[in-house]
């Protein structure tokens, strides 16, 4: 091979090496690749010249040009991987975001704190073997009062001022009204949990509402006594207000229970030490309870010597107010979304 041709190869090689080393982007490298190795590239052109050479020079020439071609190809590839990595690094750095900007989200639905509380309470009593039953809000007078031993026109009803719909129908003042409906067709043993809206003729203020929600449970079986009542309520208190809760009974009067009690739970803020929430007493009154009055059992054909029962009620609003620290009962029915979206 002539020295001249050797020189041509050398100069192309040098030129290519310099260009490749200087290439700053993958695009530039692609151009260089075309310039040397493309269909009309410098190296390709050299290969084409092979035919023009004397026969004896061809193998050596071909070998050398191919060597050059492979070398340029390898240099480009090697440079490409470096440049590509640099380019990616630069792109990624340009894509940087302010991760402290607020996120975007669709607004999720939430439960109302009242019905969420109802569900929690139901869960506890279902776990204790109670069956939930539904009943009408427009209730018959006889179930709301007569069946529950309210004496005709008695002062005991002063706390149960009612909204009347007809002569003998009213908006129920207590879900206890379901006792009669259930006992009309169910035979003991049973454990029933009733939940729903109740209504009393009360003007709205921070602690009174004409519409409120109540859970009322009752159980009838052989040998049910006050200790079962206390144990059941304690279980409920521990589930809802924490494992340190206990229950206290104080005598009270409800026509449908005998003995009748008001039950209180250990104040969950001060654990019974005394604080403003419990008015320094250590106890928070929750609702009424007692053993089902035997005349009610007898009215529905249940042998009150063989069977006894307990009943207790509680106001959901009161429980909700205590648990969430809400001081105004009106918030529950106002449906202010700024309030509801906090739960």
């Amino acid at each position: 091979m002539s020295e001249n041709t050797q020189k041509v190869l050398e100069s192309i090689k040098k030129e290519a090496e310099e260009q490749i080393a200087a290439a700053a982007s993958t695009v530039e490298l692609a151009h260089i690749e075309t310039e040397y190795l493309g269909r009309k590239g410098k190296v390709t052109e050299l290969l084409r010249k092979t035919g023009e050479l004397p026969k004896e020079d061809r193998p050596a020439w071909g070998q050398n040009v191919n060597k050059l071609k492979n070398m340029v190809g390898a240099l480009i590839e090697s440079r490409r991987s470096t440049v590509a990595a640099e380019e990616e690094a630069s792109r990624l750095s340009q894509e940087s975001i302010d991760v402290t900007l607020p996120g975007r989200f669709f607004r999720l639905g939430r439960r109302h704190p009242l019905t969420a509380t109802i569900d929690e309470i139901k869960r506890v009593f279902i776990g204790l073997g109670f069956e939930v039953v539904e009943g009408p809000e427009v209730e018959e007078y006889k179930f709301n009062f007569d069946a529950l031993n309210y004496p005709e026109d008695h002062p005991a009803m002063d706390a149960q001022m009612s909204f009347y719909i007809t002569d003998d129908r009213l908006l129920r003042t207590q879900t206890t009204a379901l006792q009669g409906r259930v006992m009309e067709h169910k035979k003991p043993p049973f454990r029933i949990c009733t939940v729903g809206r109740c209504f009393r003729y009360d003007a709205l203020d921070a602690t009174h509402s004409h519409t409120f929600h109540q859970v009322d449970c009752f159980a009838v079986d052989e040998k049910i006594n006050m200790a079962d009542l206390k144990g059941t309520l304690s279980q409920f208190a521990r589930e809802l207000f924490g494992p340190a809760s206990s229950v206290r009974f104080r005598p009270d009067y409800f026509p449908f229970v005998e003995p009748g009690v008001e039950y209180a739970i250990t104040c969950f803020v001060c654990q019974g030490k005394g604080c403003p929430l419990c008015k320094m007493s250590g106890w928070i009154e929750i609702g009424g309870a007692g053993l089902i009055h035997p005349t009610i059992l007898e009215r529905f054909g249940i042998d009150s010597e063989k069977y006894t029962g307990f009943a207790f009620g509680l106001g959901i609003e009161r429980v909700g107010m205590l648990r969430y620290g809400i001081d105004d009962i009106r918030l529950f029915l106002e449906d202010d979304l700024r309030f509801l979206r906090q739960f």
Partner: protein, 678 residues
């Protein structure tokens, strides 16, 4: 009732502090709501449950204290020195309405000097919340507080013919009561009359015409018992509640009249002198006898949950003023008439429990037969709906059952509403939803999506009511939280988002055949509302709130609502059975743009495509609805993505082409459809 603590000490002793005693009383059933410090010492403000009229007197409270603390009880003395004159020569008494007046007892005292009552008496009256008047009236009020027997004093000389007749008022009669008010009477009201006119409203308030005054010499004292219902109803009708009526409504012991009478004449004589006429006029047509009830110690222990002995029972009940005799298996208890609340064994058991102390009750859990706890079917179904609706981005609200009267649909009125805002029962939930939106818009909230599950009540045939669960939602603005760099308008809710939520509900419940039918519905946009049906049964309604209603309610923008029949949904949402097996073969994806007349319903096009595509159709998705150039006016283009897939094999292009041709042919034949390139 206000109970001065110092006064209690007159009847029983106690060595506990005032606070401790208050606590003991509260824990035994007489709630001491407050302890007030007064110039006359501490005063308990008690809440007396309606079943315990015996606690509406200082002596009655002392009786409970003595039982609680085991201290002695000393009854106030009632020692009468009678004079010579026979009472029957001074007054005549008749009861014309014995049903309303079981007992009327009376004494007369002559030559009384009316003046101020002694300081000790005045102080106690003031401490107990009463105003001193004169020695005669004060003595009667004092005994009312002390023993719980309402008493009334008449100036005997102001009674026509010195006569008392207990009768119903006559139509048209009036009386001016001692508070100076003239009051119209009606025949349902029991009055005390003299020979001419009413001189008192029985058991409620005396009359001005016969009132004891500074000139009074001769006093007739009434110690009577009246029917509680009669007094309660009269007091309510007249609008007067007094210390006397409060006690009569709850039941005063009919066997207390004579003791109280003797006590009061003794006090009047002590403070005003005078001569007590010989004898008592005591008419007692409704004689009450003490009850006799057996109590079994075994049963007592069983119900209370702790062991109580016969001896303990006897001790507590005796201390409460009952007498106890031992029988073989039980104790026979005679219950005095001042405890009308005790009518059977359980009542006695409660007495034993509350005096012994409920803190002794242990805690046990229910034993006996294992019972399966469960939610009601409605509750369980509601739980499912809650989950679906909340995951759809809807906020639960709880709106009122009592609403104003609203247009569209009959509502049941409340007979005695608090006001016009709460005068009817809701027959639908949507009006409440819209109220929530309007209310919150007024507080600056723009984007809202709310729902409720609750009862609605409608009148049904024959004057009956149909009460059932319903579920409704309302949406306005966007479901997205506040965000940045995103065009809010493009996120705004519309009819189809609202519809999408209902479709999601149906899909989750396994209801596959819900049909939406355009319908003009009151309160809705005339061309953007539909009924939803399944098997010809109405499942509910959906649509955009009408402009006029939105303006009237001040809604913040276009608002979309739906209300579904809870029970119909529940009926249809059985258990979801099975699933569609997944194919292992590739899908073939084709697009098709159908140009049709603008009034052709999408549902028609969809069902034709499904019909022609046959069983190879895997998924049909609408991705564009277009009107405008180059289409003719009145035309629209619906663009579909149609995916074919077989569960058995890889599809060949040719067979998919054949299906596509069939689709085009059917659409062209049925709807005159043309097709655009997509």
């Amino acid at each position: 009732m206000l109970v001065p603590v110092e006064w209690l000490k007159e009847y029983t002793e106690f060595n506990v502090t005032i606070e401790e005693l208050a606590d003991r009383l509260t824990m035994a059933g007489l709630e001491v709501e407050e302890i007030e410090e007064t110039p006359y010492g501490a005063v308990y403000s008690t809440y007396v449950t309606p079943n315990r009229p015996d606690l509406l007197s200082v002596f009655g409270v002392a009786r409970d204290i003595s039982a609680l603390l085991g201290s002695k009880l000393k009854a106030p003395e009632a020692c009468v020195t009678q004079g010579e004159t026979d009472i029957n020569s001074l007054a005549k008494i008749e009861i014309e309405s014995p049903a309303n007046c079981p007992r009327y007892s009376s004494r007369v005292i002559t030559g009384v000097k009316v003046g101020e009552s002694p300081a000790w008496m005045q102080e106690r009256l003031i401490a107990a919340g009463m105003r001193p008047i004169n020695n005669v009236v004060d003595a009667s009020n004092y005994v009312l507080l002390e023993l719980g027997q309402p008493l009334h004093t008449f100036d005997c000389d102001l009674l026509a013919e010195h006569k008392i007749i207990v009768r119903q008022a006559r139509a048209g009669e009036k009386i001016t009561t001692i508070d100076g008010e003239e009051r119209q009477l009606d025949p349902a009201t029991l009055v005390i009359a003299d020979a001419v006119q009413p001189v008192a409203i029985a058991g409620i308030m005396g009359g001005f015409n016969s009132e004891v005054n500074w000139q009074t010499k001769n006093v007739l004292i009434e110690s009577a018992n009246f029917n509680r219902l009669s007094i309660r109803r009269s007091a309510r009708r007249i609008g007067l509640a007094t210390e006397a009526s409060f006690r009569y409504e709850r039941g005063v012991d009919p066997n207390l009249t004579l003791y109280a009478l003797d006590r009061v004449v003794q006090l009047i004589q002590e403070t005003g002198g005078g001569d007590i006429a010989r004898g008592v006029i005591d008419l007692y047509p409704g004689k009450a006898e003490p009850r006799c009830i057996d109590i079994r110690p075994g049963r007592t222990s069983d119900l209370l949950g702790f062991k109580v002995t016969a001896k303990q029972i006897e001790g507590y009940l005796t201390a409460l003023g009952m007498s106890v005799k031992h029988k073989a298996e039980s104790l026979a208890v005679t219950v005095p008439t001042f405890r009308p609340d005790i009518t059977r064994e359980e009542d006695l058991i409660e007495e034993v429990g509350r005096i012994y102390g409920y803190e002794h009750i242990p805690e046990t859990l229910l034993c006996g037969e294992t019972l399966q706890g469960k939610d009601s079917p409605e509750g369980a179904f509601a739980a499912k709906l809650y989950e679906i609706l909340i995951s759809s981005g809807l906020q639960e609200v709880v709106t009122g059952t009592m609403t104003p009267a609203y247009e569209g649909g009959p509502q049941i009125p409340v007979r005695n509403p608090l006001n016009d805002e709460v005068c009817c029962l809701r027959s639908r939930l949507v009006p409440g939803m819209l109220n929530v939106i309007a209310h919150n818009a007024g507080r600056g909230v723009r984007d809202m999506a709310v729902f409720e599950i609750g009862h609605v009540v409608k009148p049904s045939s024959g004057g009956a009511f149909e009460e059932k669960f319903s579920v409704a939602a309302a949406i306005t603005g966007t479901l997205w939280e506040e965000t940045w760099n995103v065009d809010k308008a493009s996120l705004a809710a519309d009819f189809f988002l609202c519809k999408g939520i209902t479709e999601h509900i149906f899909q989750r419940l396994g209801i596959t055949n819900a049909e939406y039918k355009a319908e003009q519905l009151p309160g809705f946009h005339p061309t953007r509302a539909a009924s939803i049906e399944s098997d010809g049964k109405r499942l509910g309604v959906i649509g955009e709130v009408s402009d006029s209603l939105a303006r009237q309610m001040d809604l913040p923008g276009r608002t979309y609502v739906f209300e579904l029949d809870f029970e119909e949904l529940m009926k249809r949402s059985g258990m979801r059975a099975g699933y569609a097996p997944l194919s292992r073969y590739p899908a073939v994806d084709r697009d098709l743009a159908v140009v049709i007349s603008g009034d052709t319903a999408y549902s028609r096009v969809e069902s034709l495509i499904r019909e022609a595509a046959g069983e190879l159709l895997s998924c049909l998705t609408l991705f564009d609805v277009y009107t405008g150039k180059p289409l003719q006016p009145g035309q629209k283009s619906l663009a579909f993505s149609i995916i074919f897939r077989s569960r058995e094999r890889t599809l060949r292009d040719a067979e998919v082409d054949e299906r596509m041709n069939a689709i085009r042919a059917l659409l062209a034949a049925e709807l005159g459809a043309a097709f655009r390139d997509t």
